[in-house]
């Protein structure tokens, strides 16, 4: 075990190396490139024994990972933003083929205008593809989550690909200390056994993808994907607990609570803003506010039960979404409200869309936003649409 000072990108690359990934295919895009550059170094200096295929597009990167995963080897790719959008067709193909591919998404805004900075809109727009989506808040969590992702994805009851999301620049290009575990412990945590449901074997030939008529099995295949997503909730929790036993850390399982007991207002967010929210809560608690913070770690599968469990404790959940569905609002707020609807004793939900295009959301802004929410609660008010933070 050692502690290294790493960028978020390099933290991901170290985890990929320690997971003994056998096949990597990638196309460069800022701010993801640091991951594959580091992986290329690892392969060159012999620290990682993997086939590396530098393709001509993200569409091809995912297609190549699909091909490799069909041979039962552990695969990895990384992308973001326009690259992820360009890859979209194959993102669907990977999950519907039920392949445990892991992809780091270094969240970046989609243009125009060109913008290379952090936003969750790129991965949120892949919401319905059937990929598990885990959002990370710091470098250690990004490292740990890559390892956990392989364990969850390759579970025979899951067999779905996983996006490990970390915000561009905020995490990818900053440095933090990262505890690197012993290789033997990682090997024991994620032993690799090829998946058996679909595998290329010339002695046992299969065809895959054959046309289905509406009365055949397509509907059932999609039902099974949904069931696997539901199963993944428990697997993510168990994996996170097992991880803690071996490595002594956890980052929350599906959601992470911070001082939520007895809180009148809870701030719900994903990624780096969720870590900052803890500081905001401490500031508010010092001023006498009963504040709490809740980090959404898994966006897919969406942890409805856990969110309701926490929601029961409070009067108001304030959501900061670093994404926007124009004409509706933020994705997390929308989904939270749907998850709470119809259940007894559910709190008010206030929604804020902020941090788009990488615009900074400061601690002070988070604190003031929370104070606004407390005011609404005290005055017995109700939600009045999206709160825009510092809109010019």
């Amino acid at each position: 075990m050692e502690t290294l000072i790493l960028t978020g990108n390099h933290a991901v690359a170290y985890a990929v190396k320690m997971a003994r990934v056998q096949f990597i295919s990638c196309y460069p895009i800022t701010p993801q490139t640091g991951i594959v550059e580091k992986l290329s170094d690892f392969i060159l200096n012999g620290e990682l024994e993997a086939v590396f295929v530098p393709v001509e597009s993200e569409h091809s990167a995912m297609a190549a990972c699909i091909g490799a995963s069909l041979t039962g080897v552990r695969t990895f790719t990384a992308t973001c933003s326009h690259g992820l959008a360009y890859m979209h067709e194959m993102v669907h193909w990977a999950s519907a083929t039920r392949l445990p591919i892991i992809m780091a998404v270094v969240n970046r805004t989609i243009g125009p205008p060109w913008n290379i900075w952090a936003e969750h809109g790129d991965s949120i727009s892949q919401r319905d593809t059937g990929w598990i989506q885990l959002y990370t808040s710091n470098h250690q969590e990004a490292f740990d989550t890559v390892l956990q992702a392989y364990k969850v994805a390759e579970d025979p009851d899951v067999l779905l690909p996983v996006m490990v999301c970390l915000e561009g620049f905020v995490l990818s290009h900053t440095v933090q200390p990262v505890v690197i575990p012993n290789q033997e412990d990682v090997d024991a945590f994620i032993p690799h056994e090829p998946w058996k449901h679909i595998i290329i074997d010339v002695d046992n030939p299969i065809t895959h993808g054959n046309l289905q008529m509406p009365e055949d099995w397509f509907y059932e295949f999609r039902f099974l994907m949904h069931r696997a997503m539901e199963a993944a909730k428990e697997k993510i929790v168990r994996c996170s607990k097992d991880f803690e036993k071996t490595f002594g850390r956890n980052h929350g399982h599906l959601v992470e609570e911070y001082k939520c007991d007895g809180a009148d207002v809870i701030l719900l967010s994903m990624g780096s803003l969720a870590d900052q929210a803890k500081v905001a809560v401490d500031v508010l608690r010092d001023e006498g506010y009963k504040a709490g913070a809740l980090k959404l770690r898994a966006f897919r599968p969406f942890p409805e039960e856990e969110l309701r469990r926490v929601a029961k404790k409070t009067k108001c959940i304030l959501v900061i979404d670093r994404n926007l569905s124009p004409g509706k609002g933020g994705a997390v707020a929308s989904e939270l409200k749907a998850a709470l609807y119809g259940f007894k004793g559910m709190p008010m939900v206030l929604e804020c869309v902020a941090g788009l295009g990488g615009r900074d959301v400061t601690l002070e802004e988070e604190v003031n936003l929370m104070k606004q929410a407390f005011k609404v609660v005290e005055e017995g008010g109700e939600p009045s649409g999206i709160i825009w933070l510092g809109l010019k």
Partner: protein
């Protein structure tokens, strides 16, 4: 090699009866001979195309080697992944092929194909060329020849056919060949030769299509032969950059009396019904010029 010897050497059938190809399909005929040449240890990647239909409806299949269907533009990249995965698995005796139509090759898949060739990915890419999007009901592709009717060129295509074999040769890959489903022995021999070469190999097969080209189903072989005998379609190899005409095309070059007029080829198909006589005359002149140039190139390096 003679047909008799092929059936002795490769008696196994990998394209099984009961497949759901159209009657008279040139593509399945070509695949049958390709798989005879490659044998059991072959993995097929098939991007969206007629191949996704004639393989049969789930849960049945008509191809008895691994047959992986992928999205339209994804064939060469998925094949690259399988090649890499097999390498990581330490399997060295499996041949990976991509079996794609002309739309998947010349249009939507061209970026992926070019990338795989630039990386000299160790696989064989087959384009079965029925000269339009036949699976979706005959829309024009980059590989549709000038003059051909399609549902999106109701008065005949104005532009010419994209020359994919030469484009692929320009990638300086070790082996490029053209063939035709009406010349199965030519296709068999070229596939066998390609099998033992390392790197990216590209074989472009003209496969006549009765419903799309508008001819009777019993004429598939004849139409393909007319394409070659008229010089409309040339059979050749480019091995390590050196151009060689194949026997059927050399025959019409060396024995002009064995050549048929392009008019015979055009008039045998309903798809060229909108082509005027003066256009046929111009096409004949173009082919005559092409054959003269090809005669000069035979046996010589194609590129500087």
């Amino acid at each position: 090699m003679s047909a008799k010897k092929v059936f002795q050497e490769a008696p196994e059938e990998y394209v099984l009866p009961g497949n759901s190809a159209c009657q008279g399909c040139g593509s399945t005929l070509a695949l049958r001979w390709v798989l005879k040449a490659l044998g059991k240890k072959t993995v097929i990647v098939n991007p969206a195309s007629c191949g996704c239909v004639y393989v049969g409806l789930y849960p049945r299949t008509a191809i008895s080697v691994p047959y992986i269907q992928v999205a339209f533009a994804a064939g060469p990249a998925a094949a690259s992944g399988i090649v890499g995965g097999l390498e990581a698995r330490g399997e060295k005796d499996v041949t990976v092929i991509c079996w794609a139509g002309d739309g998947g090759t010349a249009d939507i898949g061209v970026s992926s194909l070019s990338g795989s060739a630039e990386r000299n990915t160790n696989y064989i890419y087959f384009c079965y060329d029925n000269e339009a999007y036949m699976n979706t009901g005959t829309q024009r592709s980059g590989s549709t020849p000038a003059g051909a009717w399609t549902t999106t060129t109701p008065m005949g295509k104005k532009e010419g056919k994209k020359d994919m074999a030469l484009i692929m040769a320009a990638h300086r890959i070790p082996y490029v060949a053209t063939s035709c489903s009406s010349y199965p022995l030519d296709l068999y021999d070229k596939t066998k030769k390609a099998k033992i070469i390392k790197g990216t190999r590209y074989i472009h097969i003209l496969t006549p299509c009765p419903p799309g080209w508008r001819f009777d189903t019993e004429l598939t072989v004849k139409i393909g032969r007319l394409a070659v005998q008229s010089g409309m379609w040339l059979l050749y190899e480019i091995e390590n950059g050196v151009f060689h005409l194949s026997a059927p095309s050399r025959k019409i070059l060396e024995n002009p009396e064995k050549r048929v007029s392009v008019r015979d080829y055009i008039k045998a198909q309903g798809r060229f019904r909108v082509v005027r006589e003066d256009e046929i005359k111009r096409l004949q002149e173009t082919i005559d010029e092409k054959l003269e140039k090809v005669a000069e190139l035979d046996g010589k390096p194609l590129f500087f």
